[in-house]
């Protein structure tokens, strides 16, 4: 028997897995009922495990499917088309919840935990954020001190997704005794470890069935091999895992947006007003076309980021751009979907209201978009060189891309390192860069998908216009800074004096 000939190809494996995922969704997942119950039922978690959904990115050597990030993202997008809470559970597990262990765990710990994680016996969670610190990871106070042959950990992590039922927590902690006074390290803590406790579930605007809790660590002791990577390398590991996780989240956003677009297409072709389907009105046509073009660009950019993750290298900028673009795109598409449904969209029965509130969080978690944009822009201003990209052959895009490169260089020469602290400068440059990356990814995808040429052209046109708008706004930075400083000072003063009184 020729084993090699019988072995399924990667494409066949993905085909089967997508079918299995759809079967799981059809049989087990009623998004309205799950949302109403406020938690993902145990039977749904068990069915997800049976369908192999916790095994996506766990290496085959340790009981997983060993899928590349692109493929895992495809499955998360499938899930997000139906239920964003379930997609968040699986996506977080495949991304932040297990990534650092897969890449940096000791072989003994990988052998111990990864098979259970692949089986869904343990679900992965990740904790970096702490109460009051938000996106400022440098301000983390949870501390792990070397003691004997292990680490003694005290502190608290907030907004821990999957935290209520997770079996393994990967935590970013301060480790002043390891690798420098202000060093950080990444450490795994199993659920059953004495001293680890989980707070009540948070009541949220969206993804209401997704588990979000505070995790407390009181005098928790773990052996030193629970440490991931080199002592003191925690911040690097966290950024690496966040880069990976943001790509998974971006792909999830494409799933939610696909659902909202499909629901809208069904509605505008069936719903009649003024003697014709509402989809026949020019204004509705433009909205639907913009939704479709935005989704095309989202899928193209998420796919580009996932491919870059597979190729290795620094994902920071590209994953942040994909996360920002896809989370904002999904929200805009869901909002347009709701608007095109009219008053019916405001009713729960259509499902678009749930999609809208479910995707709102993606603009905030795993790095608030505002913060990511400022960082992305600062990165542009201090990059050793903007990666050379060949001209696309699309004159309007190439003109915009050159204008962006020229303005980055001019601002860098004018302001030096000071420019990195001007948030209106960095965020506007970053928004233009996000447009450029999304447009470029769309053009490249269209080159291999001739049937998408028209949609891609429209997407590139919209993105180029928006990119120019951001660059035009660079001229107003000084006056915007001045106005914002004066107006906010006046607005804040009653509140600030009230506090000091």
């Amino acid at each position: 028997m020729n084993v090699a000939a019988d072995a399924p190809t990667d494409g066949e494996v993905m085909g089967l897995l997508i079918e299995e995922t759809r079967r799981f969704l059809a049989r087990e997942v009623d998004p309205a009922a799950i949302e109403a119950s406020g938690r993902i039922p145990d039977r749904v978690v068990a069915a997800a495990a049976s369908a192999g959904l916790f095994a996506l990115t766990i290496p085959e050597s340790h009981g997983g499917l060993g899928l590349p990030l692109r493929s895992a993202g495809t499955i998360v997008a499938e899930l997000a088309r139906v239920d964003r809470s379930v997609a968040t559970m699986v996506g977080l597990h495949a991304g932040l919840g297990t990534r650092s262990l897969v890449v940096h765990g000791s072989e003994a710990r990988r052998a111990r935990w990864l098979p259970a994680l692949a089986e869904g016996e343990r679900v992965g969670a990740f904790g970096a954020t702490e109460a009051g610190e938000g996106s400022d990871l440098q301000a983390i106070r949870t501390i792990a001190r070397p003691e004997g042959s292990g680490l003694r950990i005290d502190g608290e992590k907030s907004y821990v997704t999957n935290g209520g039922f997770a079996g393994l927590y990967t935590l970013l902690v301060r480790t002043p005794g390891l690798g420098g006074e202000r060093s950080f390290s990444m450490v795994c803590v199993p659920r059953e470890t004495p001293g680890l406790s989980v707070g009540p579930e948070e009541d949220k605007l969206g993804i209401r069935a997704s588990s979000t809790v505070t995790v407390r660590l009181d005098d928790v002791y773990v052996p030193s091999d629970h440490l991931l990577g080199a002592p003191g390398a925690g911040m690097d590991l966290a950024h690496e895992a966040l880069g990976w996780g943001r790509v998974v989240m971006a792909t999830g956003c494409t799933g939610t947006a696909r659902y909202a677009l499909d629901a809208t297409l069904a509605h505008v072709t069936a719903r009649r007003q003024f003697h014709r389907p509402i989809g026949d009105f020019d204004a509705a046509r433009l909205q639907v076309s913009t939704m479709a073009a935005t989704l095309f660009a989202m899928e193209s950019l998420a796919d580009r980021a996932a491919s870059a993750a597979e190729a290795g290298g620094d994902l920071t900028g590209l994953s942040a751009a994909a996360k920002v673009f896809c989370s904002e795109g999904a929200f805009a598409i869901c909002d347009a979907a709701l608007q095109l449904h009219g008053a019916m969209g405001f009713l729960e029965q259509t499902g678009v209201a749930r999609a809208l509130r479910d995707c709102r969080i993606t603009r905030i978690f795993e790095g608030a978009n505002d913060v990511l944009l400022v960082h992305l822009g600062a990165g542009l201003l201090v990059a050793r060189a903007r990666p050379e990209t060949p001209t696309s052959g699309h004159p309007a895009f190439d003109e915009f891309d050159h204008r962006l490169a020229r303005l980055v260089a001019e601002n860098r020469a004018e302001f030096g390192v000071r420019g990195t602290q001007r948030q209106l400068l960095t965020s506007r440059l970053a928004r233009a860069e996000v447009c450029a990356l999304a447009a470029r990814a769309s053009l490249d995808r269209a080159a291999t998908e001739p049937e998408s040429a028209e949609l891609a052209a429209f997407a590139v046109e919209q993105l180029t216009r928006e990119g120019h708008r951001q660059l035009d706004a660079l001229r107003f930075i000084q006056e915007d800074e001045r106005a914002a400083a004066a107006l906010s000072k006046r607005a804040y003063s009653p509140w600030a004096s009230g506090r000091s009184a």
């Binding site: 301000a139 420098g180 202000r182 201090v382 050793r384 390192v417 000071r418 602290q421």
Partner: protein, 98 residues
């Protein structure tokens, strides 16, 4: 708190001593990192000892640039790893040499 540049005596501001540059750099760094200046040492690595990432390092360099009214070009900040190296660069730029 740091003194506003405009309130500093212009003569003293024109020629801060090496010690003064060092002390003001440490003070700025301590403010950014919210820590006691006494715990900051010149030989400290920005990353391993002080826990700075590229963004907090940029904030520090930018503050120095404001404080001493110097233009720090992006290229000359590449490769800085310790507080000593930062202070040496700032001193050199304050003295007007490159």
């Amino acid at each position: 708190m740091t003194t506003h540049a405009l309130l500093v005596d212009p003569v003293a501001r024109a020629v801060p001593s090496d010690d003064e540059i060092r002390a003001r750099a440490v003070q700025l760094l301590a403010t950014i990192l919210e820590r006691d200046p006494a715990t900051v040492q010149q030989a400290h690595s920005l990353r391993a000892d002080l826990g700075m990432d590229s963004l907090s390092a940029l904030e520090f360099l930018s503050s120095l640039s404001h404080e001493f009214n110097i233009d720090l070009e992006v290229e000359e900040t590449y490769g800085l790893t310790t507080l000593n190296e930062v202070v040496a660069l700032v001193t050199q730029r304050v003295r007007g040499s490159r």
